[in-house]
């Protein structure tokens, strides 16, 4: 058997290396969904080249979030709010992923993310729907009324 391989000008290690290379060549790529599914960003240019962002946006966000959160050293170019402000349309809806830039791609690539469980999925200049504003005022009033009773009133404070 070895003689057949050597006659063909191949060696076992080279074959294996070739196989591994072939297997890995498919990794590390992000398949963008069709353009029709991706909302246009509102800015002229992204903060990094497109292929860098496609591959590394999660590392950039993850790496710099600790700096921002723990030390207050914020990089406006790599801010989460900045991404949402530029990429997400004020009319986007989380329930309909095709209107939402992040959701559309994540849905297409079947990658679950938890960012929007806490972070807002709407840009900061999105006009809040009128019912939302009323809601907020109403709920704050309710909140205050609920806590205005004696339940939060202390009788005495200890001052050493």
């Amino acid at each position: 058997m070895p003689s057949v391989l050597t006659r063909a000008g191949l060696s076992l290690p080279a074959l294996l290396a070739g196989l591994v290379f072939f297997a890995l060549s498919g990794c590390g790529k992000v398949e963008p969904p069709p353009a029709s599914l991706l909302a246009e960003a509102r800015g002229d240019q992204c903060v990094e080249p497109t292929d860098v962002m496609r591959r590394e946006h999660m590392q950039i966000l993850m790496h710099e979030r600790d700096e921002a959160k723990r030390y207050g050293r914020r990089n406006p170019d790599h801010s989460f709010v900045g991404c949402v402000d530029c990429h997400v349309s004020p009319t986007a809806n989380r329930e309909d992923p095709s209107t939402h830039f992040c959701m559309a791609c994540h849905e297409f690539n079947a990658v679950r993310m938890d960012c929007f469980q806490c972070h807002t999925d709407r840009p900061s200049d999105a006009a809040p729907a009128s019912h939302r504003n009323v809601d907020l005022h109403e709920s704050i009033e309710r909140h205050l009324a609920a806590h205005a009773d004696a339940s939060t009133n202390a009788v005495e404070v200890s001052i050493p």
Binding site: H119, T120, S124, L136, H143, A146, T152, E156, V157, P160
Partner: protein, 245 residues
């Protein structure tokens, strides 16, 4: 021996307890009662704080509470027992004289915060400028910090939330509290929503400023008029200080 203390102790140091200073109170060799959170503040950096003059704080006024909750998108879900509270008004009556005060209480941003001591995931932390925060990326919602806090300053989010403010991410299963409007401070503003509202209403009961800057308004007031802190006996050295209680 404290794991933080990388320099090996000599037998003499160990026995005489000379090493105790690095690790808090020694009850027996190798057993330490408490290890205070690292004092993250450097004397050269700022330390943000609040001064609240309770004699100017009007009874029944809730401007600061309203402003805080509006600023950070904190809203009621109709269940007062579990609704989040970042700041609340407390009415105090002195039993002996019947004298009444009203004052806002929020996270006191302690220098030695018990919430940071007990947090098993290091989600509770103190920034170099003295602001005590929860890193919700690593908060597991165990609520130890809520039990440790003597000021009842923290709230747990029990339900799924929507419509958060961009600068104040909040989510189910995590603990949260007053952030001293950290988003404003990081933007370079030198005021908080509660202080702004109190000044707007003309009470001027709250002052925000740098406790480490001897020329700041808050430092001068503290120096000239004195102040107290709630539960000063715990020696947590809060950054929120009160006058008139």
């Amino acid at each position: 021996m404290s794991s933080d203390n990388s320099a090996p102790l000599s037998r003499r140091q160990f026995i005489t307890g000379a090493a105790a200073a690095v690790a808090g109170l020694t009850i027996a060799p190798g057993v330490f009662l408490l290890k205070p959170a690292e004092a993250a503040q450097k004397a050269d950096g700022p330390r943000w704080g609040l001064l609240i003059d309770t004699s100017k704080c009007a009874d029944g006024c809730t401007a600061c509470v309203r402003a805080c909750h509006e600023e950070n998108g904190v809203r009621s879900l109709g269940r007062p027992e579990t609704d989040a509270q970042w700041i609340r008004k407390v009415n105090l009556t002195e039993r002996a004289t019947g004298h009444q005060h009203s004052l806002p209480v929020m996270c006191q941003h302690c220098e030695n915060p018990p919430c940071v001591d007990v947090c098993p995931t290091h989600a509770s932390f103190i920034r170099p400028d003295g602001i005590v925060l929860v890193d919700k990326h690593s908060c597991i919602g165990c609520r130890y910090c809520m039990m440790a806090c003597p000021y009842k300053a923290r709230s747990f989010i029990h339900e799924k939330l929507t419509d958060q403010k961009p600068h104040a991410p909040r989510g189910k299963g995590t603990v949260e509290s007053c952030t001293l409007c950290v988003h404003r401070i990081d933007r370079g503003e030198r005021t908080t929503a509660c202080v702004e509202a109190c000044n707007r209403d003309g009470h001027k009961a709250m002052t925000f400023g740098d406790l480490h800057d001897p020329d700041s308004e808050i430092s001068q007031r503290l120096r000239n008029y004195g102040s107290t802190t709630i539960r000063a006996d715990l020696r947590l050295n809060p950054a929120v200080r009160y006058q008139g209680i």
